[in-house]
């Protein structure tokens, strides 16, 4: 059954990579740019860890350190993980639902360019006299006022964040409308692949929360130039409400797409249908709805929010999270598990995110949060969720879908080497930070008490191992693209529609589509072929048995 009958018109190819509206190109551009920002922000982290390796100031000034942690955090959140998650969705969702293209392709193209301009504006602050933004990724008032943080660099940060977030919002809207409006015949909502459901839930959060941050950044800029917007204690609290209304859901925006990716990987490499599909769908909706109602736990110490309410909603998150973990583990139980690189990264995600999730329960409890707030415990917690969790989920997805996007297989040996380096590096870097936090080391400072030196040194060594792991991953990409091992349509024996088409897919994705009767149509076909083999196959099997 054909999805559509695309007719190509003459189109210039030179600018295709810059302004092409094909969802795959827009997604690839966004992914490549986000990788660039990841590397930039990663280098900043290495400089920070070099500074923190020993007590006393070694490499950078206090002022520069403020810029480093601000641009590292901002870069990773606004310019890397969020756009990378959306890029994965923009590439895969139309393919998974059998669509010829994404809806609103111009909007997603606009989103890419706006995001790129935002990123350049943020990093452009380094070229100004006062340096780049230096008020952390959340830029609290009154710290971010023009009195306390003067300079064009901070203005550029505010403008850049607004642009980058607006760009991400545009890409998310394109994905959302694609899912709602462009599904292939037979692709009902309860036949959407797990990854597409995860992207749908993600876009709900983006549409509901990202506009609030764009408004907050506009108001912050007005406050810096005109004043009178966020005045006094209530102004500061109002800004925090606006920021964290975005700031908490965005954590799940950087997490859910990778839950979806990991779910696909786990099902494929367990050779099983995903367990508990409907329960997962309900848990995704519940999880994302609750995630909009927990921002106040970032403000427990302000005494300006209803702590009981936000503590309750934060703890309730454990219920849908538990359902998702149960489904992932149950999918593996009884499966014929293949430990290929994507599966290793998926298992890394499952195990390491659990540490991030469980320590999240600590910060969801006001009395415990009072103790660890502002300490390295928080740094450890969110790096376990975003690095050891989300990045591993992203890499599971990248290793899994790389053959689809490029037509070439990534090298298994290099993939496994990068996995182990990253896994060892992540745990050596971030686990000591829990103890540092409990021992009273505050975050966002370039110097600390000498008694904390050993754990900090260990953490810095771990950061070096992470850098090595990233280099091995990049080498793997380069080697695999230069000496190509052709992937074919479906190198993994996967279950969803994107593996029905060629690798890489053509401009309009599909020449034809199989019948869609579940969320795993290719698995349906294989099961049907096993139950009802073609006459010649059946005869061959009987002959072999005889």
């Amino acid at each position: 059954m054909a999805v559509g009958a695309p007719v190509a018109l003459p189109a210039g190819r030179a600018l295709g990579w810059l302004v092409g509206t094909d969802h795959k190109r827009t997604a690839a551009r966004t992914a490549v740019v986000s990788l660039g920002f990841f590397l930039l922000s990663g280098v900043l982290a290495l400089v920070m860890r070099a500074e923190l390796a020993q007590p006393g100031l070694q490499f950078v000034s206090d002022h520069s350190y403020d810029e480093l942690f601000t641009m590292h955090g901002s870069g990773m959140i606004y310019l890397f993980l969020t756009p990378a998650a959306l890029a994965l969705g923009l590439y895969l969702v139309p393919l998974q639902i059998g669509a010829a293209d994404a809806a609103l392709p111009r909007l997603s193209l606009w989103g890419f360019w706006t995001y790129l301009c935002g990123g350049l504006a943020m990093y452009g602050g380094f070229l100004t006299a006062d340096g780049a933004g230096r008020d952390s990724w959340n830029a609290s008032i009154p710290l971010a006022s023009s009195t306390n943080t003067p300079g064009v660099g901070m203005d550029l940060w505010v403008i850049g964040v607004a642009l980058a977030v607006a760009g991400s919002l545009a890409i998310a809207v394109s994905i959302l409308v694609t899912i709602v409006r462009r599904r292939a015949p037979g692709m009902t909502m309860l036949r959407l692949p797990v990854f597409t459901w995860a992207m749908l839930a993600t876009t709900f959060m983006v549409v509901a929360s990202f506009p609030v941050l764009v408004v907050a950044m506009g108001l912050l800029l007005a406050e810096r130039h005109l004043g009178g917007v966020f005045t006094g204690a209530t102004g500061s609290i109002a800004y925090q409400h606006l920021f964290w209304f975005y700031g908490h859901p965005v954590v799940y925006v950087m997490f859910f797409p990778f839950v979806g990716a990991v779910a696909e990987v786990v099902a494929t490499f367990s050779r099983k249908r995903f367990f508990g599909y409907r329960a997962l769908v309900v848990s995704l909706l519940l999880f994302t709805a609750l995630s909009m109602a927990v921002w106040g736990h970032h403000m427990f110490i302000t005494a300006a929010v209803q702590n009981q309410y936000f503590s309750l909603t934060s703890h309730l998150l454990a219920v849908p999270a538990g359902i998702e973990y149960f489904d992932l583990i149950a999918t593996m139980i009884g499966g014929a598990i293949l430990l290929r690189t994507p599966m290793l990264f998926a298992l890394g995600f499952i195990l390491q995110f659990l540490i991030g999730g469980l320590t999240g329960i600590v910060v969801a409890s006001p009395p415990l949060d009072y103790h660890v707030n502002g300490s390295f415990f928080i740094v450890a917690h969110f790096h376990y969720t975003l690095f050891a969790g989300s990045l591993f989920g992203l890499l599971a997805g990248v290793h899994y879908w790389f053959p689809k996007a490029t037509g070439a297989m990534l090298r298994e040996g290099l993939g496994k080497l990068s996995f182990w380096l990253l896994a060892i590096g992540a745990n050596v870097t971030f686990f000591p930070m829990f103890f540092l936090g409990f021992d009273g080391m505050p975050r966002r400072v370039p110097d600390y008490a000498p008694r904390l030196g050993d754990l900090n040194l260990l953490s810095s060594i771990g950061a070096g191992v992470i850098a090595l792991g990233v280099l091995v991953f990049l080498a793997n990409v380069v080697v695999s693209l230069r000496r190509r091992e052709p992937a074919g349509k479906d190198p993994w024996g996967a279950q969803t529609l994107e593996w029905w088409t060629s690798s890489p897919p053509p401009r309009h994705n599909f020449e034809s589509l199989p019948a869609i009767r579940s969320y795993a149509p290719l698995l349906d076909l294989r099961e049907a072929a096993e139950a009802w083999p073609a006459p010649e196959e059946a005869a061959a099997k009987e002959g072999a048995a005889a």
């Binding site: 999805v3 559509g4 009958a5 695309p6 007719v7 018109l9 189109a11 295709g16 302004v19 092409g20 509206t21 669509a99 010829a100 293209d101 392709p105 111009r106 193209l109 606009w110 360019w113 706006t114 301009c117 935002g118 504006a121 064009v152 403008i159 607004a162 642009l163 409308v177 899912i179 709602v180 409006r181 462009r182 599904r183 292939a184 015949p185 037979g186 009902t188 909502m189 749908l200 709900f204 549409v207 509901a208 929360s209 506009p211 609030v212 130039h225 109002a238 409400h241 209304f245 519940l286 709805a289 609750l290 909009m292 109602a293 106040g296 929010v305 209803q306 309410y309 909603t313 309009h508």
Partner: protein, 129 residues
């Protein structure tokens, strides 16, 4: 530029229907959580929650009962004016700190991009006919 057919043969008008239920379910959950917070403590935070659900309610209402378009859909192969528009808006935004001159330059680029985009879309429609 390329044409793509509608996405299917189900539902009135040929396209796949549905998709609004999850939007409404999710928006409903959010409104419920907002109402719970409003009863508990009230104030701006609960308005944020209830207001945040509105874009999805609007999208669900717009989508409800409408089949995906079955007619031939025009897909732009590439769109330079979109990039020009985005760069213009970004330049004008940076002008908010660099000075009025850059705001004006950015606005001019954005206006140029917008007109170019409108022309591109008109030409597409003519080509389709």
């Amino acid at each position: 530029m390329a044409r793509a057919g509608g996405s299917g043969s189900e539902g009135r008008g040929g396209g796949v229907k549905g998709g609004s239920v999850p939007l409404l379910a999710w928006a409903g959950l959010q409104v419920l959580l907002g109402a719970m917070l409003a009863i508990w403590s009230g104030g701006m935070p609960s308005l944020l929650l209830i207001g945040g659900a509105m874009p999805l309610v609007v999208l669900a209402a717009w989508n409800q009962g409408r089949a995906a378009p079955a007619e031939t859909r025009l897909l732009p192969g590439e769109s330079m004016p979109v990039a020009v528009l985005a760069i213009g808006i970004a330049t004008a935004a940076v002008g908010l700190t660099a000075g009025l001159w850059l705001v004006l330059v950015g606005a001019e680029i954005a206006a140029f991009g917008a007109v170019w985009l409108a022309r591109e879309m008109v030409l597409e429609r003519r080509w389709l006919k």
